[in-house]
Amino acid sequence: MLRAVIGRDLRLAMRRQADIVAAMFFFIIVVSLFPLGVGPEPDQLRRMAPGVLWVAALLATMLSLPRLFADDHRDGTLEQLTLAPQPLGVIVLGKVIAHWLVAGLPLVVLAPVLGIQFDLSSDALLVLTVSLLIGTPALSGIGAIGAALTLGVRGGGVLLSLLVLPLYIPVLIFGAGAVDATLSGLGPQAHLSLLGALALGGVFFAPWPTAAALRVALE
């Protein structure tokens, strides 16, 4: 069931590749705006890089969240899915994993390239990539709660960011903190472990409140 949901969502996403590419370019543009805004001094950019890349990753993930359930809601698929014998949480988990593959993984791949623009060392680039790899699943998981709560609500997009961004703060802190710690020579292990804990929590606990919120939305 899990694999079927993931496969289906991926196939649907592949039919609308422009959306994925748009989110990726959004990420690239936001990151590229910062040097233009604060100036090109390499020292300053290097210090800012972890925060900038992580904040841009939060925003880019959020961009694709409203579509997580909206399309299925519109054509009635979502109601059929709630009738499936499997727990709704498992189906949501599948959709979260698919969302991460489509929205989170491309950011992980792009991040090192953008990190070079900020003159990051190879160590820091590696940690940045690993931190995004561990942290972005948590973003998809937590974001799913917000997407379900704002499903079919007017002004859903803005509202979604209002609900989800405060909950993203711990992920941002530990994700950017891991790279910061590498830059300052402390070693990223502690941050990465906490990030891993958040990701596990986000991916495996968030589907249940999401399922509850979906049932509320479908009433």
């Binding site: 709560l149 704002t150 859903g156 209002l162 405060p166 909950l167 703060i169 958040l198």
Partner: protein, 256 residues
């Protein structure tokens, strides 16, 4: 014992709770005024001047109660929201939405008075201290809750969606608090320490506690007033509200 249980259920219905709340409100206002006068008297007239901070510290009598209540009200709100979600009680959801604006107000007051206090003491309106940052995030959580409820037209759905958000928020608050704290210790530059002097004059403590009680009573009174308004708005089709309002000549029957 059984009488008590029956009583609780009795007042879970808006129709019976409405007059009860109406009777309780003046008492809570009176208590709020009483505690407020006592607390402010102690705070401004009796409590000694602080050795380090002079008279400026007296904003503590609003600042600390506001911070306490902003956190406490979120817990109470999540509690009512959870009860409402679990047992499907309309009144609980209404209580949660009635509490949210007061909680947001206290979170804002706490930040504002903190800024006013910080300027003369540390020479800055704002530092990215762990407590300040988490209070700011708490304000964001309140705003999210209020915005979500405001965006959903169907009150039952608004209650339930808000309840899920409040419960998710409660689970997240400790995570957010500790992450901000660790972030802060890692980034601690030439910043100020918020840790207060370990010993606090007894009178200062009394003034603060009385002011906190005053704020608490105020919150209950204002939340009950708000919940009464919400009840009237949501139950406007019911007979008891019509009977109540018929004296005022309101015609609510045309509303969908």
């Amino acid at each position: 014992m059984t009488d008590r249980v029956i009583n609780w259920y009795k007042y879970a219905s808006p129709q019976t709770f409405y007059p009860l709340a109406g009777k309780l409100i003046p008492w809570f206002w009176a208590l709020a005024a009483l505690f407020g006068i006592a607390g402010l008297t102690i705070g401004f007239l009796i409590a000694p001047t602080d050795a380090q901070q002079g008279e400026g510290y007296r904003i503590i009598f609003l600042h600390v109660p506001a911070s306490w209540l902003s956190m406490f009200i979120y817990l109470v709100m999540a509690f009512w929201a959870g009860i409402g979600l679990a047992f499907n009680i309309r009144l609980s959801g209404m209580m949660a939405s009635a509490l949210a604006p007061t909680g947001a107000l206290f979170a804002f007051l706490s930040l504002w008075t903190g800024a006013l206090w910080g300027k003369p003491m540390w020479g800055t309106w704002w530092v990215w201290d762990a407590r300040l940052t988490s209070e700011l995030i708490l304000l964001f959580l309140y705003i999210g809750f209020i915005a979500l409820q405001a965006a959903i037209d169907d009150p039952r759905r608004a209650d339930k969606a808000g309840a899920i958000l409040a419960l998710v928020g409660v689970v997240n608050i400790p995570i957010i608090y500790f992450s901000v704290k660790w972030w802060n210790t890692l980034h601690q530059g030439a910043s100020v320490s918020l840790t207060k002097a370990p010993s606090m004059a007894a009178m200062m403590l009394w003034g603060m506690l009385l002011c906190a009680l005053a704020c608490w009573m105020y919150s209950i009174a204002i939340a009950l007033m708000r919940v009464r308004t919400i009840m009237l708005e949501r139950e406007r089709h019911t007979d008891w509200v019509r009977a109540l309002l018929s004296g005022n000549g309101h015609d609510t029957s045309r509303h969908p």
